[in-house]
Homo-oligomer: 376 residues x 3
């Protein structure tokens, strides 16, 4: 062999090894999961928890989970602590009430607990590092596991995932139970998204609006800082570029929907109008249906419906000072999974831990876009 | 043959042909439906849509649908336009998301879209011919199809029809989303049926009350004019005299129920207290159960329950400025379909497109009243 | 034989006969039920009704039912009359709509009717012996039977009991329908459990608090007098000492939960914070799961969840002037029955009319505590 050929082979090998290292962290990292099964329980629990962290945004990748945890810590260390406590409480409860290791290891019982603890922290008006808050964070986290476990057989009849129903239920219960003027656990009252009686200032600040679209992704974790939100987007990108794109698209659609019924300006700028759209768009566009132009259109429809429903729920629940959290996206996605029309139901993917990219290759369903640049 | 015999035969033939022409338009007109299957899609879509128009009042007859559309146009042309747009939007959406032609052709996906568009128009406080309203009428109409399609597999487990759940859901979402002081889509706030703090004027105006009973049937289409209401009643009569009678009976029961808990006088006079009773009474008395004296009693019970539930829902939802629309009748009829007591459940008719009259002849179920004058 | 032996044998026989007489009235008294089947219908109806009275507190024993009826009469004769009317209305309705004698005879269709009539009386602000109230008590009682009969096939899919869902539903409907300023049927508005804006008086009155724990059991029947409550507890003790203990334990837990989020003092003292906890604790601890240390812990968890959920529901529903009644316990117990974790679900007892004591003897499930003093 000639030396040039050898060198080119070596550099090719190096490139491939580098690519391998990067690809190692993408997708659902099933290989790591298999590897972990021989490790001690504490190490396994760490992997399960990190998968749980990423599960909030419908991702199943421990490295994404770690990135998101870093993002949350950057945004607010107290929130990161609270979220972790909630995550542990719900995961440990799942083990105690006797759930199969296989279910727990997929982070199934983690993300609801984390979310509810994060939102309890976000609505608490007693300030950061109010240590008594760890108590309701634990109790609420554990309660989500009971609700998850109880909802599963009901929803399973129609082949539906439990999704974030437990988080939404337990958050409403916690906030109604404590209220806004509780001496121990006071909360901020939730504001309706709908326009107040006095008119909005008429000029729209476009850069702030665009920032709001990006922040919509961070609001899934109740995080409204730009830097951490970009990191969260990166974590999603690692699992699946398709989902990252749909997250941004959905958040944009949510902002459009908000503009069309003239919601509060600060809700547009802080991303509060976007996150339900983002969740709806991500779920339909790739995660629960194999992606093609039809399901892409349905993802857009789902994002619009989620966003409008969120505005509706927010206006109604605000009468009792309660937030709409992600009820709208959860219900709309559930509705989409139930739709029996063949144009949608024939692309249904049964909930497994796979990134959308793995479904692009099925030639019978989506041959024409097979060579698209979206495939990782 | 003698000439007299010939002439009598001829006049007999003429009479029969006339009767045939009239009878041609009664019942569910299955013959027309069969005939239509060779026509171009646009003509078929017209038949489907007219069946959808009549489906609002649980009738399945395109001529009834045409009569009702005329009634609505007489009452308010703008409302007729809005309703038609909603109807088309929901029917076309059903075709797009891939529903079977058979289902769509029965008008299954039409009536919810029409109703939601009619009510969006009725609650809109921006006045008639506010063209921007076509946008939400289209979106809401299309959304009812998604909700219909998603609810169907859930309710199907208990053999329940989707009925007007989608309309009720989407209407509440639209009204909560836009609210009463939206700059683009302002709505009138809904008033509770319950008595206000200041006492009602003590004298009851009986003729107005009786007119309210008739208007109760028109209120199913959000129409409160007497002439069009009579036309709508005629359209129901064409499909089934039994249902027309039960509609009036139910509306009367609703008015009685309203009187017994002293609701607002203007609600009694405008027929708002009657329409849930009318729907409940029609559904149980003939449409979903084969008619006999037992189911007739249950129809009366259902009308009372629907009416009281409507007053209850209306009082609660008015706290958020929302109307109770036909939630009460829909839920009560669903409850009646679920009742397992043999005295009711053994007369259950499985939802098909037949007028109640066709079930009167089954001798095993109702021999004693077989010769009743109710049979058409 | 020696005379001493004879005398000791005789006294032994006497003791055994006495014990027999006492034991005759304990448990579910299946023997009486079998005996009754030859009696005339009116006598049977009495037994069914007394079982229905005891069914409110999840007991199935006609002697307990009679004791409870006496307790209610002592507390308020008018309430006892109202409750009996509601009980009869719902039982008779069940017979009319054609339910199997076997179901009716278990008191299945009685307790919801009784509860709704009792609560209609408790919320009525027109005073005792307001005879017009018998009308809604009858109608509401009959309606609970329709709701029971309709909910049964839905809940049956997941093997869930109908429980007091019908009572809770019909009570909310009645109170929303009539409201607080109805000229015929005025009601007291329900107060939220949550603390008012002005601070509670800081000193806690411990004896009143302990009395509140006991009163929590009476509040299940809307009774807040100490004497009758003790009699009700005695009636539960007759059926099952385990359930009586769990009732007190659950009520205590409810009071603790109330203290932890600082609810109104008078709610703590009157037992309003305790009764949902008591119901939740009784249902999980013995009635629906075979008792062992694990299910005992879950009973405590269920009592906490029920109590917190009750505070939450009460705060939300009070916005519309409505009470939370026993929604919290009903929903929490239903959730516990759905939980799929093996640590709980493997001890599930399928709803039959047996006292928890009969399940203590199954050695495969609970051998270690078999010799416990709890066994009757």
């Amino acid at each position: 062999m000639f030396p040039e050929e050898k060198s080119s082979q070596r550099s090719e090998g190096l490139r491939q090894r580098l690519l391998h290292k990067l690809l190692y962290c993408t997708g659902d990292m099933q290989h790591l999961h298999t590897l972990m099964q021989d490790q001690p329980l504490s190490v396994q629990l760490l992997e399960w928890s990190l998968r749980g962290v990423s599960g909030v945004i419908m991702v199943d990748n421990p490295v994404s989970g770690a990135l998101i945890l870093i993002a949350l810590t950057l945004s607010s260390p107290w929130q990161a602590v609270l979220g972790s406590i909630g995550l542990l409480a719900s995961t440990v409860t799942a083990i105690i009430i006797g759930h199969e290791r296989e279910e727990v290891s997929r982070g199934q019982y983690g993300y609801n607990g984390m979310l509810v603890a994060l939102l309890i922290g976000a609505f608490n008006s007693a300030g950061d590092w109010y240590w008594w808050l760890l108590l309701p964070a634990c109790v609420a986290g554990a309660t989500t596991t009971f609700v998850s476990s109880g909802l599963a057989p009901v929803l399973d009849r129609w082949d539906l995932p439990v999704s974030v129903f437990p988080f939404n239920t337990v958050l409403l219960l916690y906030l109604s139970c404590t209220g806004t003027n509780n001496p121990y656990y006071p909360n901020y009252p939730a504001q309706p998204l709908g326009a107040p009686l006095i008119n909005n200032d008429t000029r729209l600040h476009v850069p702030k609006l665009l920032q709001g679209v990006v922040l919509g992704v961070g609001q899934i974790y109740a995080c409204d800082a730009l830097g951490p939100t970009v990191l969260i987007l990166g974590a999603v990108l690692l699992f699946s570029p398709i989902m990252a794109l749909h997250a941004l698209l959905g958040s944009g659609i949510g902002t459009l929907a908000g503009l069309s019924v003239s919601v509060r300006r600060d809700a547009l700028y802080s991303g509060l109008t976007g996150f339900n759209g983002a969740l709806g768009c991500m779920a339909v566009g790739g995660l629960l249906f194999s992606l093609n132009w039809r399901t892409h259109v349905f993802a857009i429809v789902c994002a619009f419906l989620s966003s409008y429903a969120d505005i509706a729920f927010s206006n109604v629940l605000a009468n009792a000072g309660l937030p709409a959290s992600s009820w709208a996206a959860t219900l709309t996605v559930t509705l989409m999974l139930l739709v029996t029309g063949r144009a949608l139901s024939s692309y249904r993917i049964h909930p497994r831990r796979n990134s959308p990219e793995q479904y692009l290759q099925t030639p019978s369903q989506w041959t024409e876009n097979n060579t698209s640049s979206n495939t990782v």
